[in-house]
Protein backbone atom coordinates (compact mmCIF):
# COMPACT_ATOMS: atom_id res chain seq x y z
CA UNK A 1 0.00 0.00 0.00
CA UNK A 2 2.74 2.42 0.98
CA UNK A 3 4.92 1.48 -2.00
CA UNK A 4 2.02 2.02 -4.40
CA UNK A 5 1.25 5.36 -2.77
CA UNK A 6 4.84 6.52 -3.22
CA UNK A 7 4.91 5.32 -6.84
CA UNK A 8 1.67 7.10 -7.65
CA UNK A 9 2.94 10.24 -5.92
CA UNK A 10 6.22 10.15 -7.86
CA UNK A 11 4.25 9.66 -11.04
CA UNK A 12 2.01 12.62 -10.30
CA UNK A 13 5.07 14.68 -9.44
CA UNK A 14 6.67 13.69 -12.74
CA UNK A 15 3.55 14.47 -14.77
CA UNK A 16 3.51 17.89 -13.15
CA UNK A 17 6.96 18.67 -14.52
CA UNK A 18 7.41 20.32 -17.90
CA UNK A 19 10.49 18.22 -18.61
CA UNK A 20 8.37 15.11 -18.60
CA UNK A 21 6.39 16.51 -21.48
CA UNK A 22 9.52 17.79 -23.24
CA UNK A 23 10.81 14.21 -23.22
CA UNK A 24 7.49 12.99 -24.56
CA UNK A 25 7.74 15.64 -27.29
CA UNK A 26 11.23 14.41 -28.20
CA UNK A 27 9.85 10.88 -28.44
CA UNK A 28 7.09 12.06 -30.77
CA UNK A 29 9.59 14.04 -32.86
CA UNK A 30 11.99 11.12 -33.25
CA UNK A 31 9.10 8.81 -34.07
CA UNK A 32 7.89 11.20 -36.77
CA UNK A 33 11.39 11.52 -38.17
CA UNK A 34 11.68 7.76 -38.38
CA UNK A 35 8.23 7.50 -39.90
CA UNK A 36 9.31 9.90 -42.62
CA UNK A 37 12.01 7.47 -43.75
CA UNK A 38 10.94 4.76 -46.19
CA UNK A 39 12.51 2.10 -48.41
CA UNK A 40 11.47 1.39 -51.96
CA UNK A 41 13.54 -0.90 -54.10
CA UNK A 42 17.14 0.21 -53.87
CA UNK A 43 16.14 3.69 -52.79
CA UNK A 44 15.74 5.38 -49.48
CA UNK A 45 13.08 8.10 -49.26
CA UNK A 46 13.22 10.88 -46.69
CA UNK A 47 10.57 13.29 -45.42
CA UNK A 48 7.72 11.07 -46.57
CA UNK A 49 9.08 10.78 -50.10
CA UNK A 50 10.08 14.42 -50.65
CA UNK A 51 13.70 13.38 -51.09
CA UNK A 52 14.84 10.11 -52.58
CA UNK A 53 18.38 8.75 -52.61
CA UNK A 54 20.07 5.88 -54.38
CA UNK A 55 22.01 3.64 -52.06
CA UNK A 56 25.68 4.07 -52.86
CA UNK A 57 27.56 0.82 -53.21
CA UNK A 58 30.36 2.22 -51.01
CA UNK A 59 27.90 3.32 -48.41
CA UNK A 60 27.76 1.10 -45.33
CA UNK A 61 24.06 0.87 -46.01
CA UNK A 62 24.70 -1.09 -49.12
CA UNK A 63 26.42 -3.85 -47.26
CA UNK A 64 23.33 -5.31 -45.73
CA UNK A 65 20.52 -3.03 -46.70
CA UNK A 66 17.80 -2.19 -44.29
CA UNK A 67 19.14 -4.34 -41.45
CA UNK A 68 22.30 -2.30 -41.55
CA UNK A 69 20.32 0.96 -41.37
CA UNK A 70 18.24 -0.38 -38.52
CA UNK A 71 21.45 -1.19 -36.68
CA UNK A 72 22.68 2.35 -37.21
CA UNK A 73 19.36 3.73 -36.03
CA UNK A 74 19.26 1.57 -32.89
CA UNK A 75 22.82 2.38 -31.99
CA UNK A 76 22.23 6.06 -32.70
CA UNK A 77 19.08 6.16 -30.62
CA UNK A 78 20.74 4.44 -27.71
CA UNK A 79 23.88 6.48 -27.90
CA UNK A 80 22.33 9.86 -28.51
CA UNK A 81 18.67 10.17 -27.60
CA UNK A 82 18.60 7.57 -24.87
CA UNK A 83 22.16 8.39 -23.91
CA UNK A 84 23.37 11.97 -23.71
CA UNK A 85 20.18 13.84 -24.47
CA UNK A 86 17.73 11.52 -22.73
CA UNK A 87 19.74 10.89 -19.59
CA UNK A 88 20.64 14.55 -19.20
CA UNK A 89 16.98 15.54 -19.35
CA UNK A 90 15.95 12.70 -17.08
CA UNK A 91 18.59 13.64 -14.50
CA UNK A 92 17.32 17.21 -14.52
CA UNK A 93 13.70 16.09 -14.37
CA UNK A 94 14.20 13.74 -11.45
CA UNK A 95 16.72 15.86 -9.55
CA UNK A 96 14.02 17.50 -7.46
CA UNK A 97 12.20 14.36 -6.31
CA UNK A 98 14.27 13.68 -3.19
CA UNK A 99 14.94 17.31 -2.20
CA UNK A 100 11.20 17.99 -2.55
CA UNK A 101 10.39 15.09 -0.25
CA UNK A 102 12.94 16.29 2.30
CA UNK A 103 11.67 19.87 2.44
CA UNK A 104 10.80 21.06 5.91
CA UNK A 105 7.04 20.83 6.35
CA UNK A 106 6.77 18.04 3.78
CA UNK A 107 8.99 15.42 5.37
CA UNK A 108 7.42 16.01 8.80
CA UNK A 109 4.11 14.55 7.73
CA UNK A 110 5.68 11.64 5.85
CA UNK A 111 7.96 10.62 8.72
CA UNK A 112 5.07 10.69 11.16
CA UNK A 113 3.45 7.86 9.21
CA UNK A 114 4.11 4.23 10.13
CA UNK A 115 6.90 3.73 7.63
CA UNK A 116 10.53 3.27 8.62
CA UNK A 117 13.11 5.62 7.19
CA UNK A 118 15.07 2.95 5.26
CA UNK A 119 11.87 1.61 3.72
CA UNK A 120 10.67 5.11 2.86
CA UNK A 121 14.03 5.87 1.28
CA UNK A 122 14.09 2.67 -0.76
CA UNK A 123 10.49 2.98 -1.90
CA UNK A 124 11.10 6.57 -2.97
CA UNK A 125 14.26 5.55 -4.79
CA UNK A 126 12.48 2.83 -6.69
CA UNK A 127 9.46 5.04 -7.30
CA UNK A 128 11.72 7.59 -8.97
CA UNK A 129 12.63 4.95 -11.53
CA UNK A 130 9.03 4.96 -12.71
CA UNK A 131 9.66 8.29 -14.40
CA UNK A 132 12.43 6.79 -16.52
CA UNK A 133 10.55 3.57 -17.10
CA UNK A 134 7.62 5.48 -18.61
CA UNK A 135 9.90 7.50 -20.85
CA UNK A 136 11.82 4.40 -21.91
CA UNK A 137 8.63 2.47 -22.68
CA UNK A 138 7.29 5.36 -24.75
CA UNK A 139 10.52 5.96 -26.68
CA UNK A 140 11.56 2.40 -27.30
CA UNK A 141 7.97 1.28 -27.81
CA UNK A 142 7.19 3.87 -30.47
CA UNK A 143 10.48 3.51 -32.33
CA UNK A 144 10.15 -0.29 -32.18
CA UNK A 145 6.71 -0.07 -33.75
CA UNK A 146 7.90 2.34 -36.46
CA UNK A 147 10.76 0.02 -37.41
CA UNK A 148 8.37 -2.91 -37.58
CA UNK A 149 5.33 -1.36 -39.19
CA UNK A 150 6.97 1.20 -41.48
CA UNK A 151 10.22 -0.57 -42.37
CA UNK A 152 9.11 -4.15 -41.90
CA UNK A 153 12.01 -4.92 -39.59
CA UNK A 154 11.05 -6.38 -36.23
CA UNK A 155 13.89 -6.38 -33.72
CA UNK A 156 12.61 -7.91 -30.44
CA UNK A 157 16.05 -7.50 -28.86
CA UNK A 158 15.60 -3.73 -29.18
CA UNK A 159 12.98 -3.91 -26.44
CA UNK A 160 15.79 -4.80 -24.03
CA UNK A 161 16.75 -1.14 -24.31
CA UNK A 162 13.89 -0.41 -21.89
CA UNK A 163 15.42 -2.14 -18.84
CA UNK A 164 18.89 -1.08 -19.99
CA UNK A 165 17.91 2.55 -20.02
CA UNK A 166 16.42 2.28 -16.54
CA UNK A 167 19.64 0.56 -15.47
CA UNK A 168 21.75 3.30 -17.03
CA UNK A 169 19.70 5.93 -15.24
CA UNK A 170 19.98 4.10 -11.93
CA UNK A 171 23.79 4.16 -12.22
CA UNK A 172 23.69 7.96 -12.14
CA UNK A 173 20.62 8.35 -9.97
CA UNK A 174 22.35 6.75 -6.97
CA UNK A 175 24.73 9.71 -7.02
CA UNK A 176 21.78 12.11 -7.36
CA UNK A 177 20.19 10.64 -4.26
CA UNK A 178 23.37 10.80 -2.22
CA UNK A 179 23.87 14.44 -3.16
CA UNK A 180 20.20 15.15 -2.42
CA UNK A 181 20.52 13.67 1.06
CA UNK A 182 23.74 15.57 1.75
CA UNK A 183 22.72 18.94 0.35
CA UNK A 184 18.92 18.90 -0.13
CA UNK A 185 19.61 21.15 -3.12
CA UNK A 186 18.16 20.38 -6.54
CA UNK A 187 20.79 22.47 -8.29
CA UNK A 188 23.62 20.61 -6.56
CA UNK A 189 21.98 17.33 -7.52
CA UNK A 190 21.86 18.30 -11.20
CA UNK A 191 25.41 19.61 -11.39
CA UNK A 192 27.08 16.83 -9.42
CA UNK A 193 25.08 14.06 -11.10
CA UNK A 194 25.96 15.31 -14.57
CA UNK A 195 29.57 15.65 -13.48
CA UNK A 196 29.56 12.13 -12.06
CA UNK A 197 28.14 10.79 -15.30
CA UNK A 198 30.92 12.43 -17.30
CA UNK A 199 33.49 11.03 -14.86
CA UNK A 200 31.99 7.54 -15.05
CA UNK A 201 32.13 7.60 -18.84
CA UNK A 202 35.63 9.06 -18.82
CA UNK A 203 37.05 6.54 -16.36
CA UNK A 204 35.57 3.67 -18.34
CA UNK A 205 37.15 4.95 -21.55
CA UNK A 206 40.55 5.56 -19.95
CA UNK A 207 42.01 2.09 -20.72
CA UNK A 208 41.15 2.67 -24.39
CA UNK A 209 43.61 5.54 -24.48
CA UNK A 210 46.33 3.13 -23.37
CA UNK A 211 45.21 0.56 -25.90
CA UNK A 212 45.14 3.09 -28.73
CA UNK A 213 48.56 4.57 -28.09
CA UNK A 214 51.29 1.88 -27.83
CA UNK A 215 53.81 4.29 -26.29
CA UNK A 216 51.55 4.58 -23.21
CA UNK A 217 51.49 0.81 -22.79
CA UNK A 218 55.12 0.94 -21.74
CA UNK A 219 53.90 2.19 -18.36
CA UNK A 220 52.67 -1.25 -17.42
CA UNK A 221 51.79 -0.58 -13.76
CA UNK A 222 49.91 2.59 -14.58
CA UNK A 223 48.10 0.73 -17.31
CA UNK A 224 46.99 -1.97 -14.89
CA UNK A 225 45.95 0.58 -12.24
CA UNK A 226 43.88 2.48 -14.80
CA UNK A 227 42.24 -0.76 -15.91
CA UNK A 228 41.47 -1.71 -12.32
CA UNK A 229 40.12 1.74 -11.40
CA UNK A 230 37.96 1.76 -14.50
CA UNK A 231 36.02 -1.15 -13.00
CA UNK A 232 35.00 0.70 -9.85
CA UNK A 233 32.42 3.23 -11.08
CA UNK A 234 29.27 2.23 -12.95
CA UNK A 235 29.93 1.29 -16.56
CA UNK A 236 27.55 3.73 -18.17
CA UNK A 237 29.25 3.44 -21.55
CA UNK A 238 28.86 -0.35 -21.54
CA UNK A 239 25.10 -0.04 -21.56
CA UNK A 240 25.10 1.29 -25.10
CA UNK A 241 27.31 -1.56 -26.27
CA UNK A 242 25.16 -4.11 -24.47
CA UNK A 243 22.07 -2.62 -26.07
CA UNK A 244 23.73 -2.79 -29.47
CA UNK A 245 24.79 -6.37 -28.87
CA UNK A 246 21.47 -7.60 -27.53
CA UNK A 247 19.46 -5.93 -30.24
CA UNK A 248 21.73 -7.41 -32.94
CA UNK A 249 22.90 -3.98 -33.97
CA UNK A 250 26.51 -4.75 -33.28
CA UNK A 251 27.47 -4.52 -36.91
CA UNK A 252 26.55 -0.86 -36.86
CA UNK A 253 29.22 0.13 -34.39
CA UNK A 254 31.90 2.52 -35.50
CA UNK A 255 33.98 -0.26 -37.03
CA UNK A 256 35.75 0.98 -40.10
CA UNK A 257 35.57 -1.52 -42.99
CA UNK A 258 38.90 -2.80 -44.36
CA UNK A 259 38.09 -1.32 -47.79
CA UNK A 260 38.04 2.14 -46.25
CA UNK A 261 41.58 1.71 -44.96
CA UNK A 262 43.19 1.01 -48.29
CA UNK A 263 44.12 4.61 -49.02
CA UNK A 264 45.47 5.56 -45.61
CA UNK A 265 49.05 5.52 -44.38
CA UNK A 266 50.44 2.58 -42.43
CA UNK A 267 50.55 4.60 -39.18
CA UNK A 268 46.97 5.73 -39.55
CA UNK A 269 45.91 2.23 -40.51
CA UNK A 270 47.47 0.86 -37.32
CA UNK A 271 45.54 3.37 -35.25
CA UNK A 272 42.28 2.61 -37.05
CA UNK A 273 42.80 -1.10 -36.56
CA UNK A 274 43.39 -0.62 -32.83
CA UNK A 275 40.27 1.52 -32.68
CA UNK A 276 38.37 -1.25 -34.47
CA UNK A 277 39.76 -3.74 -32.01
CA UNK A 278 38.50 -1.61 -29.08
CA UNK A 279 35.02 -1.37 -30.57
CA UNK A 280 34.98 -5.11 -31.17
CA UNK A 281 36.11 -5.74 -27.61
CA UNK A 282 33.19 -3.74 -26.35
CA UNK A 283 30.86 -6.17 -28.05
CA UNK A 284 32.53 -8.94 -26.10
CA UNK A 285 31.78 -7.20 -22.78
CA UNK A 286 30.45 -9.59 -20.20
CA UNK A 287 27.04 -8.32 -19.18
CA UNK A 288 27.36 -10.12 -15.87
CA UNK A 289 30.60 -8.48 -14.81
CA UNK A 290 29.74 -5.08 -16.25
CA UNK A 291 26.25 -4.86 -14.76
CA UNK A 292 27.25 -6.72 -11.61
CA UNK A 293 30.16 -4.46 -10.74
CA UNK A 294 28.12 -1.37 -11.61
CA UNK A 295 25.28 -2.50 -9.39
CA UNK A 296 27.77 -3.12 -6.59
CA UNK A 297 28.81 0.52 -6.81
CA UNK A 298 25.19 1.60 -6.98
CA UNK A 299 24.21 -0.47 -3.96
CA UNK A 300 27.13 0.94 -1.97
CA UNK A 301 26.20 4.55 -2.78
CA UNK A 302 22.51 3.94 -2.12
CA UNK A 303 23.27 2.32 1.24
CA UNK A 304 25.48 5.26 2.13
CA UNK A 305 22.71 7.72 1.24
CA UNK A 306 20.16 5.62 3.12
CA UNK A 307 22.37 5.51 6.21
CA UNK A 308 22.69 9.27 6.15
CA UNK A 309 18.93 9.68 5.57
CA UNK A 310 18.07 7.52 8.56
CA UNK A 311 20.27 9.61 10.85
CA UNK A 312 19.10 13.03 9.76
CA UNK A 313 17.08 15.59 11.69
CA UNK A 314 14.51 17.55 9.73
Amino acid sequence: MQFCALIVDSLRHALDRKLFWILVAITVLVTLMMLSIGFEGGKVSLFFGLVEAEVDSYDPLAASGKARLVGVVIYGLMDFFLGWVGITLVIIATAGLFPAMMESGVIDVVLSKPISRPVLFLYKYLASMVFVLIQAVLFVGFTFLVMGLRWGVWVPGYLLCIPLLVLLFSYVYCVSVLVAVLTRSTLAVILISLGAWVVFSGVRQAPAIFDTFPELQKHHVTHQVVRAVSWIPPKTADVTYLAAKWSNAGTSLDIIPASAMEDVSAAERGQLERSNQWEKEQLEISAFSSIGSSLLFEVFVVLLAMWKFTRMDF
Binding site: M1, Q2, C4, A5, L6, V8, D9, R12, H13, L15, D16, A100, E103, S104, G105, V106, I107, D108, V109, V110, L111, S112, K113, P114, I115, S116, R311, D313, F314
Partner: protein, 308 residues
Protein backbone atom coordinates in the same frame (compact mmCIF):
# COMPACT_ATOMS: atom_id res chain seq x y z
CA UNK B 1 8.35 -3.70 30.95
CA UNK B 2 6.78 -2.49 27.73
CA UNK B 3 3.57 -4.41 28.39
CA UNK B 4 3.27 -2.81 31.81
CA UNK B 5 3.65 0.70 30.44
CA UNK B 6 1.06 -0.07 27.78
CA UNK B 7 -1.45 -0.66 30.54
CA UNK B 8 -0.76 2.64 32.29
CA UNK B 9 -2.93 5.66 31.89
CA UNK B 10 -0.28 7.67 30.06
CA UNK B 11 -0.61 8.30 26.36
CA UNK B 12 2.72 10.13 26.32
CA UNK B 13 5.40 9.43 28.87
CA UNK B 14 8.68 11.13 28.03
CA UNK B 15 11.48 11.22 30.56
CA UNK B 16 14.80 13.02 30.39
CA UNK B 17 14.64 14.11 26.76
CA UNK B 18 17.86 15.70 25.55
CA UNK B 19 18.62 17.19 22.17
CA UNK B 20 21.57 19.30 21.08
CA UNK B 21 21.89 20.57 17.52
CA UNK B 22 25.31 20.68 15.90
CA UNK B 23 26.91 19.98 19.27
CA UNK B 24 26.33 23.58 20.36
CA UNK B 25 22.63 24.47 20.53
CA UNK B 26 20.96 22.76 23.47
CA UNK B 27 17.30 22.58 22.45
CA UNK B 28 16.14 20.20 25.19
CA UNK B 29 17.94 19.67 28.48
CA UNK B 30 16.13 16.85 30.24
CA UNK B 31 12.45 17.39 29.53
CA UNK B 32 9.84 15.28 31.31
CA UNK B 33 6.33 15.27 29.90
CA UNK B 34 3.43 13.05 30.85
CA UNK B 35 0.11 13.18 29.04
CA UNK B 36 -2.81 11.13 30.32
CA UNK B 37 -5.09 9.24 28.01
CA UNK B 38 -8.22 11.15 27.09
CA UNK B 39 -7.00 14.62 28.02
CA UNK B 40 -6.10 17.71 26.07
CA UNK B 41 -2.55 18.66 26.90
CA UNK B 42 -1.07 22.02 25.99
CA UNK B 43 2.58 22.75 25.45
CA UNK B 44 3.58 26.36 25.97
CA UNK B 45 6.80 28.21 25.71
CA UNK B 46 8.47 31.21 24.14
CA UNK B 47 10.17 31.00 20.76
CA UNK B 48 13.25 28.81 20.96
CA UNK B 49 12.08 27.01 24.09
CA UNK B 50 12.26 23.65 22.34
CA UNK B 51 8.54 23.01 21.81
CA UNK B 52 8.77 22.11 18.13
CA UNK B 53 11.85 19.98 18.77
CA UNK B 54 9.93 18.01 21.40
CA UNK B 55 6.98 17.53 19.06
CA UNK B 56 9.29 16.49 16.23
CA UNK B 57 11.02 14.00 18.49
CA UNK B 58 7.65 12.52 19.38
CA UNK B 59 6.87 12.15 15.68
CA UNK B 60 10.32 10.70 14.80
CA UNK B 61 11.20 13.69 12.62
CA UNK B 62 14.10 14.61 14.91
CA UNK B 63 16.27 12.04 16.67
CA UNK B 64 16.81 12.64 20.39
CA UNK B 65 20.27 12.40 21.94
CA UNK B 66 18.76 10.80 25.00
CA UNK B 67 15.25 9.73 25.82
CA UNK B 68 13.44 7.25 28.01
CA UNK B 69 9.75 6.80 27.52
CA UNK B 70 6.80 5.67 25.53
CA UNK B 71 3.99 6.88 23.35
CA UNK B 72 0.73 4.95 23.62
CA UNK B 73 2.63 2.48 25.74
CA UNK B 74 5.32 1.63 23.21
CA UNK B 75 8.78 3.03 22.57
CA UNK B 76 8.97 6.06 20.33
CA UNK B 77 8.82 5.26 16.63
CA UNK B 78 6.89 2.02 17.06
CA UNK B 79 5.18 1.56 13.67
CA UNK B 80 1.97 0.11 15.03
CA UNK B 81 1.56 3.02 17.39
CA UNK B 82 2.51 5.61 14.77
CA UNK B 83 -0.45 4.30 12.77
CA UNK B 84 -2.64 5.39 15.68
CA UNK B 85 -1.27 8.94 15.83
CA UNK B 86 -2.42 11.92 13.79
CA UNK B 87 0.02 14.77 13.31
CA UNK B 88 -0.30 18.28 11.99
CA UNK B 89 3.11 20.00 11.88
CA UNK B 90 3.63 23.71 12.07
CA UNK B 91 4.24 25.37 8.70
CA UNK B 92 3.40 22.19 6.88
CA UNK B 93 3.74 22.15 3.12
CA UNK B 94 1.86 19.78 0.92
CA UNK B 95 2.84 18.73 -2.62
CA UNK B 96 1.19 21.41 -4.78
CA UNK B 97 0.59 19.04 -7.69
CA UNK B 98 -1.88 16.91 -5.71
CA UNK B 99 -5.56 17.69 -5.36
CA UNK B 100 -7.00 17.69 -1.87
CA UNK B 101 -8.56 14.30 -2.49
CA UNK B 102 -5.32 12.84 -3.89
CA UNK B 103 -3.33 14.22 -1.00
CA UNK B 104 -5.60 12.61 1.57
CA UNK B 105 -5.47 9.33 -0.32
CA UNK B 106 -1.65 9.51 -0.42
CA UNK B 107 -1.19 10.26 3.27
CA UNK B 108 -3.93 7.81 4.17
CA UNK B 109 -2.13 5.06 2.29
CA UNK B 110 1.16 5.95 4.02
CA UNK B 111 -0.71 5.69 7.32
CA UNK B 112 -1.91 2.24 6.24
CA UNK B 113 -5.56 3.25 6.30
CA UNK B 114 -7.55 0.78 4.17
CA UNK B 115 -8.72 2.27 0.86
CA UNK B 116 -12.45 2.10 1.61
CA UNK B 117 -11.97 3.68 5.01
CA UNK B 118 -9.78 6.51 3.78
CA UNK B 119 -12.26 7.37 1.04
CA UNK B 120 -15.14 7.42 3.48
CA UNK B 121 -13.24 9.36 6.15
CA UNK B 122 -11.82 11.82 3.61
CA UNK B 123 -15.31 12.62 2.31
CA UNK B 124 -16.70 13.00 5.83
CA UNK B 125 -13.87 15.14 7.12
CA UNK B 126 -13.73 17.35 4.02
CA UNK B 127 -17.43 17.93 4.48
CA UNK B 128 -16.83 18.81 8.13
CA UNK B 129 -14.20 21.45 7.27
CA UNK B 130 -16.36 22.75 4.40
CA UNK B 131 -13.81 21.74 1.80
CA UNK B 132 -15.79 19.24 -0.24
CA UNK B 133 -16.08 21.49 -3.26
CA UNK B 134 -12.31 21.98 -3.26
CA UNK B 135 -11.52 18.27 -3.10
CA UNK B 136 -10.59 18.07 -6.77
CA UNK B 137 -8.60 21.31 -6.84
CA UNK B 138 -4.81 21.27 -6.71
CA UNK B 139 -3.42 22.08 -3.28
CA UNK B 140 -1.18 24.71 -4.89
CA UNK B 141 -4.28 26.86 -5.35
CA UNK B 142 -5.38 26.66 -1.72
CA UNK B 143 -5.25 29.60 0.69
CA UNK B 144 -3.40 29.26 3.99
CA UNK B 145 -6.61 28.67 5.88
CA UNK B 146 -7.64 25.95 3.44
CA UNK B 147 -4.23 24.30 3.77
CA UNK B 148 -4.63 24.32 7.52
CA UNK B 149 -8.05 22.71 7.31
CA UNK B 150 -6.71 20.11 4.91
CA UNK B 151 -3.84 19.48 7.30
CA UNK B 152 -6.28 18.83 10.11
CA UNK B 153 -8.19 16.42 7.91
CA UNK B 154 -5.06 14.44 7.03
CA UNK B 155 -4.19 14.24 10.74
CA UNK B 156 -7.62 12.85 11.52
CA UNK B 157 -7.87 10.49 8.56
CA UNK B 158 -6.61 7.44 10.45
CA UNK B 159 -9.05 8.02 13.33
CA UNK B 160 -6.07 8.52 15.69
CA UNK B 161 -5.96 7.67 19.39
CA UNK B 162 -3.44 10.45 19.89
CA UNK B 163 -3.59 13.70 17.98
CA UNK B 164 -0.49 15.89 17.94
CA UNK B 165 -1.23 19.38 16.68
CA UNK B 166 1.39 22.07 16.23
CA UNK B 167 -0.29 25.46 15.95
CA UNK B 168 -3.55 24.02 14.60
CA UNK B 169 -5.41 27.32 14.40
CA UNK B 170 -2.63 29.11 12.54
CA UNK B 171 -4.15 30.85 9.52
CA UNK B 172 -7.73 30.16 10.53
CA UNK B 173 -10.38 32.85 10.90
CA UNK B 174 -12.31 33.16 14.20
CA UNK B 175 -15.04 30.82 12.96
CA UNK B 176 -12.41 28.28 11.93
CA UNK B 177 -10.72 28.54 15.33
CA UNK B 178 -13.97 27.99 17.07
CA UNK B 179 -14.64 24.94 14.89
CA UNK B 180 -11.23 23.52 15.83
CA UNK B 181 -11.92 24.09 19.52
CA UNK B 182 -15.23 22.33 19.22
CA UNK B 183 -13.59 19.49 17.38
CA UNK B 184 -10.95 19.08 20.08
CA UNK B 185 -13.57 18.97 22.78
CA UNK B 186 -15.61 16.47 20.79
CA UNK B 187 -12.56 14.27 20.25
CA UNK B 188 -11.78 14.39 23.95
CA UNK B 189 -15.32 13.29 24.73
CA UNK B 190 -14.71 10.35 22.41
CA UNK B 191 -11.70 9.37 24.51
CA UNK B 192 -8.95 10.67 22.21
CA UNK B 193 -5.81 12.22 23.60
CA UNK B 194 -4.72 15.56 22.19
CA UNK B 195 -1.27 17.07 22.43
CA UNK B 196 -1.46 20.72 21.53
CA UNK B 197 1.37 23.11 20.83
CA UNK B 198 0.20 26.66 20.42
CA UNK B 199 1.20 30.24 20.98
CA UNK B 200 -2.39 31.26 21.52
CA UNK B 201 -2.63 30.98 25.29
CA UNK B 202 -6.27 32.06 25.42
CA UNK B 203 -7.18 29.20 23.13
CA UNK B 204 -5.23 26.69 25.17
CA UNK B 205 -6.91 27.98 28.28
CA UNK B 206 -10.29 27.26 26.77
CA UNK B 207 -9.65 23.61 25.94
CA UNK B 208 -6.65 22.23 27.83
CA UNK B 209 -6.92 19.99 30.86
CA UNK B 210 -3.23 20.27 31.63
CA UNK B 211 -0.37 22.33 30.31
CA UNK B 212 3.37 22.30 30.42
CA UNK B 213 5.45 25.44 30.16
CA UNK B 214 8.77 24.90 28.46
CA UNK B 215 11.52 27.47 28.96
CA UNK B 216 15.08 27.14 27.69
CA UNK B 217 14.71 23.43 26.99
CA UNK B 218 13.32 22.56 30.40
CA UNK B 219 9.82 22.14 31.81
CA UNK B 220 9.38 25.14 34.08
CA UNK B 221 5.81 24.37 35.14
CA UNK B 222 3.42 21.51 34.49
CA UNK B 223 -0.04 20.70 35.79
CA UNK B 224 -3.74 21.32 35.42
CA UNK B 225 -4.84 24.88 34.75
CA UNK B 226 -6.23 25.01 38.31
CA UNK B 227 -2.93 23.85 39.76
CA UNK B 228 -0.99 26.40 37.77
CA UNK B 229 -3.23 29.33 38.53
CA UNK B 230 -4.12 28.43 42.12
CA UNK B 231 -1.16 30.07 43.81
CA UNK B 232 -1.52 33.15 41.72
CA UNK B 233 -5.03 34.06 42.83
CA UNK B 234 -5.60 37.49 44.41
CA UNK B 235 -8.53 39.01 46.23
CA UNK B 236 -9.75 42.51 45.47
CA UNK B 237 -11.78 44.19 48.23
CA UNK B 238 -13.46 47.30 46.88
CA UNK B 239 -14.45 49.84 49.55
CA UNK B 240 -16.04 53.27 49.74
CA UNK B 241 -14.36 56.08 51.60
CA UNK B 242 -10.88 56.91 52.80
CA UNK B 243 -8.53 54.07 53.69
CA UNK B 244 -5.77 56.22 55.19
CA UNK B 245 -6.82 55.32 58.71
CA UNK B 246 -6.45 51.57 58.08
CA UNK B 247 -3.39 51.67 55.80
CA UNK B 248 -0.94 50.44 58.40
CA UNK B 249 -3.18 47.64 59.64
CA UNK B 250 -3.95 46.52 56.09
CA UNK B 251 -0.30 46.33 55.18
CA UNK B 252 0.39 44.33 58.31
CA UNK B 253 -2.04 41.74 56.91
CA UNK B 254 0.11 41.49 53.79
CA UNK B 255 -2.25 43.45 51.55
CA UNK B 256 -1.75 46.67 49.66
CA UNK B 257 -4.00 49.59 48.90
CA UNK B 258 -4.73 50.96 45.44
CA UNK B 259 -7.12 53.93 45.85
CA UNK B 260 -10.27 52.39 47.25
CA UNK B 261 -9.24 48.83 46.48
CA UNK B 262 -7.38 46.53 48.83
CA UNK B 263 -5.43 43.78 47.07
CA UNK B 264 -4.43 40.60 48.84
CA UNK B 265 -2.18 38.15 46.95
CA UNK B 266 -2.49 34.40 47.34
CA UNK B 267 -5.17 31.89 48.08
CA UNK B 268 -5.76 32.62 51.78
CA UNK B 269 -9.42 32.74 52.83
CA UNK B 270 -8.59 33.24 56.53
CA UNK B 271 -6.55 36.33 55.71
CA UNK B 272 -9.41 37.73 53.62
CA UNK B 273 -11.81 37.30 56.50
CA UNK B 274 -9.30 38.88 58.88
CA UNK B 275 -9.13 41.89 56.57
CA UNK B 276 -12.91 42.14 56.33
CA UNK B 277 -13.17 42.08 60.12
CA UNK B 278 -10.53 44.78 60.35
CA UNK B 279 -12.29 47.02 57.84
CA UNK B 280 -15.70 46.55 59.39
CA UNK B 281 -14.23 47.22 62.82
CA UNK B 282 -12.93 50.56 61.56
CA UNK B 283 -16.26 51.36 59.96
CA UNK B 284 -15.10 51.04 56.36
CA UNK B 285 -17.91 50.10 53.99
CA UNK B 286 -17.18 47.12 51.76
CA UNK B 287 -18.66 47.23 48.28
CA UNK B 288 -17.39 43.90 46.96
CA UNK B 289 -14.92 41.08 47.53
CA UNK B 290 -13.78 39.50 44.28
CA UNK B 291 -11.32 36.63 44.01
CA UNK B 292 -9.29 37.11 40.85
CA UNK B 293 -7.58 34.07 39.35
CA UNK B 294 -4.66 34.80 37.02
CA UNK B 295 -5.06 33.93 33.38
CA UNK B 296 -2.79 31.36 31.77
CA UNK B 297 -1.07 34.23 30.02
CA UNK B 298 -0.26 35.87 33.33
CA UNK B 299 1.03 32.55 34.70
CA UNK B 300 3.06 32.09 31.54
CA UNK B 301 4.61 35.52 31.80
CA UNK B 302 5.35 35.01 35.49
CA UNK B 303 6.98 31.65 34.79
CA UNK B 304 9.00 33.17 32.01
CA UNK B 305 10.22 35.92 34.28
CA UNK B 306 11.15 33.45 37.01
CA UNK B 307 12.92 31.06 34.67
CA UNK B 308 14.97 33.79 33.12
Amino acid sequence: MVRVTELTNLAVDLVDVHKTYRKTVQALRGVNVQVRRGEIFGLLGPNGAGKSTLVKIMMTVVRPDKLVGTILGRPLGNRKKLALIGYLPENHRFPPYLTGEELLDYYGALAKVPKAMRRRRAAELLEWVAMSKWAKTCVGEYSKGMMQRLGLVQALLNDPQLLVLDEPTDGLDPAGRRAVRELLLRLRSEGKTIFLNSHLLSELEMVCDRVSILVNGLVARQGTLRELTEHTVEYRITTTGDLAAVKEAVERCGARIDNTVIILNGHNVAKVNELIDLLRGKGVLIESVVPHRFSLEEVFMETLGTAR
